[in-house]
Symmetry: C2
Subunit: 123 residues, 2 copies
């Protein structure tokens, strides 16, 4: 092996020959489902904005703040907050009539590492 990378193209099977053999799935269906569920959770513009707002205003954001900052009605804000809470990415604390929401950073870190793990293996 020299430092110059040799122009070897690995061809375990010639183009045009019999195919449909030897290709296996390294990423299990269970793992794929787990990750895709979490990605679905953040793959929505409003939820991305909510997470961004919460992350940048730790513990100081109530629902009406979000309603004022986002282009959706209160019921819809509550709906997305519920999804994020059920997905374990955020939680809230009630103080009087207000509910103050905040991110759960360990959960976000886990998600980041999981996603980064795959994406780094790919590119």
């Amino acid at each position: 092996m020299t430092i110059d990378t040799p122009m070897v193209i690995i061809e375990p099977r010639a183009f045009g020959s019999r195919c449909c053999e030897g290709v296996t799935v390294d990423l299990s269906l269970a793992d794929a489902q787990l990750l895709s569920t979490q990605l679905q959770l953040i793959a929505h513009p409003v939820r991305l904005q909510i997470l961004d707002i919460l992350a940048r205003n730790a513990g100081q954001v109530c629902v009406c703040d979000l309603e004022a900052a986002l282009p959706i009605k209160q019921a819809t804000v509550s709906h997305h907050l519920r999804l994020l809470r059920e997905g374990g990415l955020i939680d809230c604390e009630r103080h009087g009539q207000w509910a103050y929401y905040f991110t759960l950073q360990p959960a976000l870190a886990v998600l980041r590492e999981r996603a980064l793990g795959l994406l780094s293996a790919w590119a």
Copy 2:
């Protein structure tokens, strides 16, 4: 500042006081939509598995390989391949009657950096 983290809780606004002020959206709707569109693309178990298979078998995977490796029918495989291709994450090359698919690593790298950028800011 000592090594002991002081138990100071930042309270720019007392709990229970008037809220709905001063909270702004740093992540623009346009940016959120762009990212969520790309996340949607990979937020599906089959598409995650397809990307993983393609990334680990550079240039050597035809549709019937995928059909054999995945729990879905050929029409559905083609459907997901089309979405991934239209999203710019993969492409294909025809050799005879086979279509060999492969990932577009620069696009995956861009996506990784974009996602990592936000997630790193959050956790």
